[in-house]
Every structure is written in C-alpha cells, then in structure tokens.
Amino acid sequence: MSEHEEHTTHSQGFYIAIGVGLLIGTATTVGAAFVNLGPFNPVVALLIATIKAIVVVLFFMHVKDASEKLAGAVVLSGFFFLAILISLSLADYLTRSWR
C-alpha cells in the first residue's frame, strides 16, 4: 500500500450542494445581465464564471484533494499560458489607432 493513498470522496450531499451553488451562480449571472452596471456587466459575468470554474476544478476535478501537487501546478500553468495569449494579443490590438 502506498503512503500516498488519496481519498477523493466527499459525501454525495457535498457534491450536490456544490452543484446547487453552481446553479445559483448561473441564475445570478443571468439576473445581473439585466441590471445596468455600465462597463462592469461583462466584468461581473466573467467574475462569476471564473468562480464557478475554480469550484469545478478544485472539487469536481478533485484537484484540491489530489495527492500529487504536480497536477495543480499543471492546471495553473495552462491558465497562465492562456493569460499570456490574451494579454499580449490585447496589448497589440488595444494600442493600435483604428480610426
């Protein structure tokens, strides 16, 4: 038996509670879309989406309970490279004079 046995199982109720939380987040996103927040509408929507994504990665994909911390580092690196893609592309496009 390895010393690194992992128990990825929370209770059924725990996972269902997380699912309900995600559904509430979806409802909040839709509701917030109908409120005029000016330039912050997409910010709020993406913020809620990011929280949902983090919850799914940590709990549904068992990254939080993983015995191998390398998995978490790989996940972070993926989003890090995505951040480079988007930020450097925007740094180009947003600093052009279009009209």
Partner: protein
Amino acid sequence: MEHEAHNPALLHHFVDAQQQKNAASLGMWLFLVTEIMFFGGMFCAYLVYRLKYFNAFAAGSQQLSIALGATNTAVLIISSVTVVLAVKAAEAGKRKVLVGYLAVTVLLGLTFLGIKGFEYREKFERHHVPGPTFQFTDTFDDNGRQIPVDSNEAQLFFSLYFAMTGMHALHMIIGCGLFSVLAVLAWRGHYSPGYFTPVENAGLYWHLVDIIWIYLFPLLYLISRHS
C-alpha cells in the same frame, strides 16, 4: 519468475496502483491544458472583435435565446454532478449505481445537444448562418435606442458563435461517446475500487467541456441585455 499478486490493471513499469493513477491523471491534465489553449485561441479572437465591433456583437447576442442558453448551462452543471457521483460510485464498487450515473450523464449531454440543435435550426431559418445566405437586419437595442449595425460585423459575431459552440458541441459528442463506452464496460464489470481510472479521466474531460460552456454562455448570450 514469480511476482506478488496485484490487480491485473496495474502495469509493470509502475511502482504501485497509486503511481499509475497519478500518471494517468497527469496525462489527461496535460491534454486538457492543450484544450484550454485550443479554445483559448477562439476566445481571444472573440475578445478582439467584440472590442472592435461592440454594437454588432451586442445586436447579434440579443438575437440569442437566454432561456435556452441558461437551460443548457443548468443541464451541463447537473451532468457534472452526475459525473462526480459516478466516480464516487466506482470508488465504492457500486457497479449498477456507476452505470446509472454514466447513463444519466449521456442523456443530459444528448439533451444539451438537442437544445443546441434547436437553436441552430432557428439560426438557419432566420438567415443568421454566415455565408452567402446571411442576412442581418436587426438592430442593437441600447436602452431602447435602436442602433443599426453593419451586416458584415454581425456576420463575424455569428461566425464566432458557430465556430465556438460548434467546436464545443463536437467535444460534447465525443464526451457522450466516451461515457457510453465506459457505461458498457462498467456494466461488464471492468471497474473496481482498485481500478476506475478511465471513469475518472473521462470525468476530467467532461468537466473541462462544462467549464468552457460556463464561459461561452455569458460571453455569447449576455452582451448588453439590460434596459
């Protein structure tokens, strides 16, 4: 040469089952990172063009059905719950519960695809499919003020809509296929508390496809919906 008894699924180049499981998970995660970059490229293109042609993108977004999009989001979230519960059943050795949850997941996935197909059909009927038949005469409803938009810019929005949701739907189809195969294998008793790695890794794939939709929904459906 004899060796100690072990689960037949344990391959000999691994020290123990836990290491093999970690290696398989890492492999799936590395693949998922490539998927993140793959969809990330399309998200970046969307972002650049939305900034440049906001009015046309808002007008296009306002033509999509929030009710159907939100329903699909809920369907996928519930399917992620059933996937997690399927993995939990596999870990507990409950074969029939595992098969049940996998089957429900596939059904929810097919529901998502059905709703998507219904949306696509509406797009065809309204000539919102990019190409020679494309026509866009709707305006951007900005707090009651109707702003006309360039047809080509609107076509760009719908090109991204079909590319991103279409690629996502393709991933859903693959996911449904995967889980269908796993459900059959699970029914035949291939998985036990000592080995259920394929179920877990297919679950990782499915969760990522869910996460991608979690971002697609607000970005495509919820542009400038307030009044």
